[in-house]
C-alpha cells in the first residue's frame, strides 16, 4: 500500500484543487456555493481520516468504563442489555476470542483487541455510546450527582473532538 501521502494529505490536495483551480472558473452562483460546501466537507473528512479510529477507540474505553461504573452501583436492565451487546468483531476468530474474553470478564471490555476496520470501530463505538446513554439515564434517575458530573465531563470531551473536526467551519450560503 502506498502510505505517503497519507489520506488526509491527499484529501487536502483535492481541496486546494477545488478552491484554487476549479472555483475561479465557475460562474453559476449556486454551483460555486455547492463547491465551497463540498470543499468544507472534504477538509473535515481529512481531519477525521487522520484521527478518527484512534479517537473512537479512546472514547469507547472511557464510555464503557463509565457504564461499568454505573452498573456496579445501580441495577438497570437497559444498561445490562447495552453492556451485554459488547464490542463488535468483524473477524470470526477474533470474535470468538473476544467472546471468550467477555465471558471471563462478565461483561464487555473496553478497547479489547478487535478489528481496526473503520466500520467495525464505528459500530463498537456506537454500542459503547448506547451503553453510556443507558448508564447516564440510570445515574440521572438515581440522582447520582457525581456520576452525572462525570458523564458531563465525558460529553465535553466528545464535543471537543467534534470541534477539532469542524475547526475551520464557516457558515456559507445564508
Amino acid at each position: 500500500m502506498i502510505t505517503r501521502p497519507t489520506t488526509d494529505v491527499l484529501i487536502g490536495d483535492c481541496c486546494r484543487e477545488l478552491i484554487e483551480a476549479i472555483l475561479p472558473g465557475l460562474t453559476d452562483e449556486t454551483l460555486k456555493l455547492r463547491l465551497v460546501m463540498a470543499e468544507t466537507v472534504l477538509r473535515n473528512a481529512a481531519v477525521r481520516a487522520a484521527h478518527e479510529i484512534a479517537w473512537m477507540r479512546e472514547e469507547t474505553a472511557e464510555l464503557l468504563a463509565f457504564a461499568e461504573q454505573v452498573a456496579a452501583r445501580y441495577d438497570s436492565e437497559p444498561l445490562r442489555v447495552a453492556l451485554a451487546a459488547g464490542p463488535v468483531q468483524a473477524d470470526p476468530a477474533q470474535a470468538g476470542r473476544a467472546q471468550a474474553g467477555r465471558a471471563q470478564a462478565g461483561r464487555a471490555q473496553a478497547g479489547s483487541a478487535g478489528s481496526l476496520h473503520l466500520a467495525d470501530v464505528a459500530e463498537h463505538y456506537g454500542r459503547a455510546g448506547q451503553a453510556f446513554t443507558a448508564a447516564l439515564a440510570a445515574a440521572q434517575e438515581a440522582g447520582a450527582a457525581d456520576l452525572v458530573a462525570r458523564a458531563r465531563d465525558l460529553l465535553r470531551n466528545r464535543i471537543a473532538t467534534e470541534q477539532q473536526v469542524m475547526a475551520s467551519y464557516q457558515v456559507v450560503g445564508r
Binding site: 473535515n44 455510546g129 470541534q163 450560503g173
Partner: protein
C-alpha cells in the same frame, strides 16, 4: 432554471388567463438552505411590469429541511387578516407542481432590503434592533384563533414543552450518534423548566434576514415555513445562535430583552438572558431533527445532496451550544 421562465409563463396563462403575462427575466436566488427560490419579472399585456418571487420545494430527496408547502400557503393566505405584521402578498400557488416543477408559492417581490444588510451598514444598529424586536413581538401577538386549523394548536404550555422534550428523546433513539448528548440535555431541561408564558405564533426562523425594510412601508416578514404555535421565547433563543453579524441580541442583550418585555408585557422572570438561553434548546428541536435525519440519509439511495454532510458541523455546533447552556444555567 432556464426552463423555469417558460413554465412560469404557462402557469400565468392558467391563473391570469386574461392578462397575457410574459416572463421577461427569471433568475435563481442563492442563499437560504431550504427552498429553491427564483425572481421573475413579468410584463403584462398592457405593458405594466411586476416582479415575483417563486418559492418551491427542492426535488424529492435533494434537500435537508422539510416543510409543508400546503400549510405555508394557507398560513400566508391567512396572515394578512390574522396579524398586524405585514408580509409580501402571496399571489398564486402551484399546488401540485404541475407547472413549476414542484409545489411552489408565488409572491410579490418587495422593493425592500434585508434588515440584516441594513444593520450591517448602519453606524448605530440600535434603532434597527428595536424595529426587529417590535416586529417579532407583533408576530407573537397574533391571535391564535385567526390561524388556519391546519396549524397544530398544543393544548397548553406544559404539554407543549413536554412534546418538545419528548422529541429530543425520540431523536436520541433514532439517531444514536447524538443520543448521549441529547439524553443529558433533555433530562437537564426537564429539571430546569422556566416560568410559562401564553402560547403564541412562533416564526421559527427569527432573524433580521427574514425581515425586509424600505422607506415606503412597514417591515415585511418572510420565510414562514417553520411557523408554528409554541412558546414565543423559542424565536428569541433561536436568534441567539444566528452567526450573521451584527447579531443585535448579543450587541446588548439587556436592551434587546427590555424592549421585548415592553412590547409583549411579559415579565423579567419570563424573559431574561437565562430563559432565552434555555429556549435555544427548545427552539432548535425541529431543525436539529431534520439535520440528524439528513445526516442519516447520507450514503443511502435517497442522497440528500451536499448540504447534508456540510451541515453535520451544525449538529456538532448544537451539541456544543446545548451542553454550554446546561453548564451556564445549572
Amino acid at each position: 432554471m432556464h426552463t423555469l421562465g417558460p413554465r412560469f409563463e404557462q402557469f400565468l396563462a392558467v391563473v391570469e388567463p386574461d392578462r397575457g403575462g410574459q416572463v421577461v427575466a427569471c433568475e435563481a436566488i442563492t442563499g437560504g438552505y431550504s427552498r429553491i427560490s427564483a425572481r421573475a419579472r413579468v410584463r403584462w399585456r398592457g405593458g405594466e411590469e411586476e416582479t415575483f418571487i417563486l418559492r418551491g420545494d427542492p426535488p424529492p430527496g435533494s434537500g435537508v429541511f422539510v416543510s409543508d408547502r400546503d400549510a405555508e400557503w394557507e398560513l400566508l393566505a391567512a396572515l394578512p387578516a390574522a396579524t398586524s405584521v405585514a408580509t409580501p402578498a402571496a399571489r398564486w400557488y402551484d399546488k401540485s407542481g404541475q407547472y413549476l416543477g414542484s409545489k411552489a408559492i408565488v409572491m410579490d417581490c418587495a422593493t425592500a432590503v434585508s434588515l440584516q444588510d441594513e444593520m450591517a451598514r448602519a453606524g448605530d444598529a440600535g434603532p434597527l434592533a428595536d424595529l426587529f424586536v417590535d416586529t417579532f413581538a407583533a408576530v407573537h401577538g397574533t391571535p391564535l384563533g385567526a390561524l388556519p386549523a391546519r396549524v397544530p394548536h398544543p393544548p397548553d404550555w406544559p404539554g407543549y414543552l413536554d412534546e418538545v422534550l419528548d422529541r429530543y428523546d425520540r431523536m436520541g433513539r433514532e439517531y444514536p450518534s447524538s443520543a448521549p448528548v441529547l439524553r443529558y440535555v433533555s433530562s437537564w431541561a426537564r429539571a430546569h423548566r422556566p416560568p410559562p408564558t401564553p402560547l403564541a405564533l412562533v416564526h421559527g426562523d427569527c432573524q433580521p434576514s427574514n425581515v425586509l425594510v424600505s422607506a415606503a412601508g412597514p417591515p415585511l416578514v418572510i420565510d414562514w415555513e417553520f411557523a408554528h404555535i409554541g412558546d414565543p421565547r423559542e424565536d428569541l433563543g433561536y436568534y441567539t445562535q444566528i452567526p450573521l453579524q451584527p447579531n443585535v441580541y448579543w450587541a446588548d442583550p439587556e436592551r434587546f430583552l427590555a424592549r421585548y418585555r415592553a412590547a409583549t408585557r411579559l415579565t423579567e422572570e419570563q424573559v431574561n438572558p437565562q430563559v432565552v438561553d434555555y429556549f435555544l434548546i427548545i427552539g432548535m428541536a425541529a431543525l436539529l431533527e431534520q439535520l440528524l435525519a439528513a445526516a442519516a440519509a447520507i450514503g443511502s439511495a435517497e442522497r440528500p445532496g451536499i448540504l447534508a454532510p456540510y451541515l453535520i458541523n451544525a449538529i456538532s455546533h448544537q451539541h456544543d451550544m446545548f451542553l454550554a447552556i446546561c453548564d451556564r444555567l445549572s
